[in-house]
Homo-oligomer: 372 residues x 2
C-alpha cells in the first residue's frame, strides 16, 4: 500500500492548514477563506486565500486510446447527483483535494504484483477482444463539500465519480491497429459497485476521513461513435465509518441528439416535433444555414436542458442581427417551456450570437458578439 | 462603359419585380414582403419572400495580398453612419442589391484601356514603393434603404462604403516577396472623395436611381500589424439627381486595445484604469488565466463599446461557473457605466461563458455554455 502514504500526505491536517477564518467579503487582506456566490440552485465555491483551487487529479486517465471521457458531462453530472446527498444550502463545494496524482495514477492502473493498488482487472495475458480483461475504470473525479464551522470551514462530505468504459479501445502492439472490447451494462455496474466499495474502505481507513460521508456516482462513458457524452446510472453513499455502500440508487439520465440518426426513435416525440418545426422555419427563412442540431438532456424522464447549434455560412453584421432576431422569435413560438434553452449561432470559426433562456420559465435573451 | 449594362440589369425594375405586397406577418403563404424586427435603435430588415437577401458584392476585394478589410467593422460602421441620414423609424434596410458582382469587379480594378470603369489609379509601370500607384480602393459595400409605399416597399436611399487602404501590400512578381506602399491620410481622403463622386454620378445616371439619395462613407483600413479593425473618417450625401457630394462631414471613430503596446497612450486614462483594476483582480482570483485584453470603441470621443476577452487554460464545469460569477461581480464593481460591455471567457477551443450588459445602463447577465 505504498501510495497510501502519498494519500495521507495529501489529506493533510485541516485544522493546521492555512485554510483559516473568514467570510465572503472580498477586500480584506487577511482573508483566507472566501466563497464565490452560486448560480440558481448551485453550490457556492470555497476558495483558498482568494484563489480557486483545482483538483490535482483532473484529467488523469487510465489509457491514452479512444477511451477519453467527456469530463464536462462527468463533472456536471457529479455535482447534480451530489445535490441529492449534500444540500446546496448547507454545504459549499471545492474541487477534490483528498486524492493526489500519484495515488490516482496507481488506482487507474491494472492490479499487478508491482501495483497492488490497481483497481482495473489484472492483465490475464490474452489479447482477444472477448478473452482479455478490459480496462473498465477510465477516470476518477472528486469533489469536496465543506460546512461552516465557527469562522472557518471543515470538510464534511466527499463525492467520487468513477468514469466507466462501455467500450475499451486498445492495441496489441505499440502503435498497432486499434481493437475494442465491449463491456456490458451488467458488468459495468457490478465492477463499478465493487470498485466504489474498495475506494470507500481505503478512504475511511484514514483517520482524517473516517467520519466523512462519501458519495460515489457511476458514470458510463459512451462509445466513440456516439454523438453524446456519457451519463450517470447509479449512485450510493457510505456513511461515516462505513467501509461500504449498502444501498445503490438509480440515476435516470438520457442525452439525445436531434435529428436522430439511423432511424433511432426520439425520447420524446413531442420535443422532437417542436424542434423540427423550429428547424424547418429557420432553414426556410435564411440562406446559408448549413446545420441545425439539438442536444437534449433528460433527467428522470423530463427534458432538463435543450442546446441547439446553428451553423451558418454567413458572417455579415446585418445578417447576424437579423437572423438572431428571427431565431429568438421562432424559439418563443416553437420550443418547449419545460427546460432552459441555449441556441448558438456560429460560422465556421466563431460563435456569432447566443439566444438563451436560463430557466424553464425565463425569458429569451440574445447576445450578439461584437455589439452595435 | 460596358459594365453599365450589367448595372442596369441588376437594378431591374422595382415595380415589376417580385417584391410585392405584404406586411410583417409571418404565416401568410402569399406574403412576398416581410421585415424582421430590429434590435434597440436598429433597422428592421427587409426580406424577400421570407428569405434574407444577401448582397452579390459582399467579399469582393481589389487584391488578394494582406489588404483584406475587416468587413464586420466596415458593415457595422456603415449602418451606424447611415442612421445619421436614413432614420431607423422611416426606413427599413436590405443588403445592397443595386451593384452586381461584374460591375464592382471592374470598379475595383485599375483604370486601363480595357477597363475604363476601373476606379483605382492606372498602373504607371513602376514598382518602387513610393513611385508606383498604389491600390487605394480595396472594397465596396452597399446597403439599401426602403420606405413603405402602400402595401409594398420602394427603394428610397442607398449607402455606399469605400474601404480604403492605409497600406497597399503588393508583390513585384507572382508569389514574390511582399512590399508595401503607404497611403497618407490626406491622399486617402482626396482619393476617397473623388471616387465617391464618380460612383454617385454613375449611379444617378440610371433612370431608376436618379432620384435616390446616396450616402457615401469613407472607411480607412488599418495596416496588418494593427490589433484593431478600421474606422470611418468621413461621409457625405448626394441628394436626388445630384452628380456629386457637396458637403463632407467628419466621423470621429477610434478603436483601442488594452493593455496598450509600445507605450502608446490610452484614449481615456480613466477607462484604462478601470480595466486595469478589473484585470488585476481577475488574474489574482483564479489560476490559469492566460490573457485579459479589451477592445474599446470610441464614437465622438465617448466610449461606445467595451469588449473584453479572457483566455483561460481551464475547462472544468465548476471552474467556469465560479469564474463567471467572479467576473460578473468584478465587472459590476470596476467597469464603466457609459457603454455596453461584453466579456467572453474562452479556453483554447471554445467560448465557455459570456458576461454582458447590452446597454450602457443595463444589468449584467451571464450565460454559461452547456447549462447545469
Amino acid at each position: 500500500m505504498a501510495s497510501c502514504s502519498l494519500l495521507l500526505a495529501a489529506c493533510g491536517n485541516l485544522k493546521n492548514s492555512d485554510l483559516a477564518s473568514n467570510s465572503t467579503t472580498t477586500t480584506s487582506e487577511a482573508k483566507k477563506y472566501e466563497t464565490t456566490s452560486s448560480t440558481d440552485g448551485g453550490y457556492s465555491v470555497l476558495l483558498k486565500k482568494g484563489v480557486y483551487k483545482t483538483s490535482p487529479i483532473s484529467g488523469l486517465e487510465a489509457t491514452n486510446y479512444d477511451n477519453s471521457v467527456d469530463e464536462s458531462a462527468m463533472e456536471r453530472g457529479l455535482i447534480r447527483v451530489s445535490k441529492k446527498v449534500f444540500s446546496t444550502k448547507d454545504y459549499v463545494i471545492q474541487e477534490g483535494q483528498q486524492l493526489d496524482e500519484a495515488t490516482v495514477t496507481n488506482w487507474l492502473g491494472r492490479y499487478s504484483k508491482s501495483n497492488k493498488e490497481g483497481l482495473n482487472l489484472k492483465n490475464n495475458g490474452k489479447t482477444g477482444s472477448t478473452t482479455r480483461n478490459p480496462i473498465i475504470l477510465q477516470q476518477i473525479m472528486e469533489e469536496d463539500f465543506y460546512v461552516k464551522s465557527g469562522s472557518s470551514y471543515k470538510l464534511a462530505g466527499i463525492s467520487i465519480s468513477l468514469g466507466l468504459n462501455s467500450v475499451d479501445y486498445y492495441t496489441k502492439t505499440t502503435d498497432g491497429a486499434e481493437y475494442s472490447t465491449k463491456i456490458s451494462p451488467a458488468k459495468r455496474r457490478a465492477f463499478g459497485q465493487k470498485t466504489a466499495n474498495t475506494i470507500v474502505s481505503r478512504l475511511h481507513a484514514k483517520t482524517k476521513l473516517k467520519n466523512i460521508p462519501i458519495m460515489v456516482g457511476l458514470f458510463s462513458k459512451t462509445d466513440t461513435d456516439s454523438l453524446v457524452g456519457g451519463t450517470y446510472f447509479s449512485y450510493g453513499t457510505a456513511s461515516a465509518n462505513s467501509s461500504k455502500i449498502s444501498k445503490w440508487s438509480s440515476v435516470n439520465e438520457k442525452t439525445q441528439v436531434l435529428p436522430t440518426v439511423d432511424g433511432a426513435s426520439a425520447v420524446s416525440a413531442s420535443d422532437k416535433s417542436k424542434f423540427t418545426s423550429f428547424k424547418d422555419e429557420i432553414e426556410d427563412y435564411f440562406p446559408n444555414v448549413s446545420g441545425v442540431t439539438a442536444t437534449l438532456r433528460y433527467y428522470d424522464g423530463k427534458l432538463a436542458y435543450e442546446s441547439i447549434a446553428i451553423t451558418t455560412q454567413f458572417y455579415g453584421y446585418l445578417q447576424v442581427q437579423s437572423f438572431a432576431q428571427t431565431v429568438m422569435s421562432r424559439a418563443k413560438k416553437y420550443l418547449g417551456t419545460s427546460s432552459p434553452v441555449e441556441i448558438t449561432i456560429s460560422s465556421v470559426n466563431d460563435t456569432q450570437a447566443v439566444v438563451a433562456k436560463e430557466t424553464a420559465t425565463g425569458s429569451y435573451r440574445m447576445h450578439i458578439y461584437g455589439g452595435n
